[in-house]
């Protein structure tokens, strides 16, 4: 069946129902394996000691925070260009998840920063751009919540998401530039420890687990969103039901 056939939300819900148990199972397996590997198999880093274990959640969370925005940007194109009925549902449901991953990246990064850099926070390019990303997620969520009409909210949010996506790399590069101006390279820069397979493997497994988790939650949130819109539409109809004038209308052109 072609992807477009799932344009129908009902069919999409069916697909979710089939897919979800498998995804959940895989996700649990990958998390178990990943956690085991990162705690018991991965070696200590010669420089960072055991704190390197934070990497196994920090890096996947950071990756996911960006991937999630990409998903939203793609969905926004779907909303604006193809007017796909599921696109803005997807974008809306992804925002809180993206915010959560961004939050995780920030928290784990800060907690890693304290032992490594001696401070929880520096106004370094990468850190700051992630903080700005969090603000953008939260702003989008607010925009969605504030607009009563979900269709209009979806379009407005799509425009903002796309503009924000364009700005994302700009923030990153310009902040790099900004940083070198005031502060010489005193900030600890992690260009990644030598990627040894012993470290790479747990990282990859954890990243897969995070990605699976994203899809599970995203699908479930999309399902909720579809149901929320159904509830809304049904309520609108319920309110109108005893009102003969407000049901749908036909027309009879007459001379």
């Amino acid at each position: 069946m072609a992807f477009w056939d799932y344009a129908n939300p009902t069919r999409f819900l069916k697909l979710v129902q089939v897919l979800l148990p498998w995804l959940v199972g895989l996700c649990v397996i990958f998390f178990a394996a990943g956690l085991y590997m990162s705690f018991f198999m991965a070696p200590e880093d010669y420089q960072q000691g055991n704190t390197v274990r934070i990497m196994y959640i920090h890096v996947p969370a950071a990756w996911l925070s960006m991937m999630c925005y990409s998903v939203m940007a793609l969905s926004s194109i779907g909303t604006l260009v193809w007017k796909h009925p599921l696109a803005d549902v997807s974008a809306k449901s992804a925002a809180p998840i993206g915010a959560a991953f961004t939050f995780m990246a920030l928290v784990t990064g800060s907690l890693w920063g304290k032992p490594m850099w001696g401070t929880y926070w520096v106004w370094d390019a990468r850190l700051t751009s992630v903080l700005v990303l969090l603000i953008m997620y939260l702003g989008l969520m607010t925009l969605w919540r504030t607009m009563e009409d979900p269709i209009k909210a979806g379009k407005a949010a799509a425009v903002l998401t796309l503009v924000g996506a364009l700005n994302l790399p700009v923030i990153k590069f310009s902040v790099d530039w900004w940083n070198t101006l005031h502060q010489p390279a005193s900030v600890v820069r992690m260009d990644g420890p030598t990627i040894h397979p012993d470290i790479l493997w747990p990282l990859m497994v954890m990243a897969t687990a995070f990605t699976l988790f994203f899809f599970v939650i995203h699908l479930m949130a999309m399902r909720n969103e579809i149901m929320r819109r159904r509830v809304r539409a049904l309520r609108l109809r319920a309110a109108a039901s005893s009102h003969p004038g407000t049901a749908a209308a036909t027309a009879q052109p007459a001379e």
């Binding site: 705690f39 995780m104 890693w112 949130a221």
Partner: protein, 60 residues
């Protein structure tokens, strides 16, 4: 297993991540329960989607 002097930071970050993940799960579960309840209440008032294959409400 010994995590050295920085065990606190490691466990704090894993713990906070776990909390965030749990919060996400709780959010989708509660939201689902909420929507299910709303749909049920509407159904009790006789308001359903007047469609032949009424599969929407039992998606689980």
């Amino acid at each position: 297993m010994d995590f050295g002097s920085h065990a606190g930071f490691i466990f704090a970050s894993y713990g906070l991540c776990l909390l965030t993940i749990l919060a996400l799960i709780a959010w989708v579960r509660f939201d689902k329960a909420h929507q299910d309840r709303s749909l049920r209440e509407l159904a009790e008032q006789g308001i359903t989607r007047a469609r032949p294959e009424n599969e929407s409400k039992n998606a689980r």
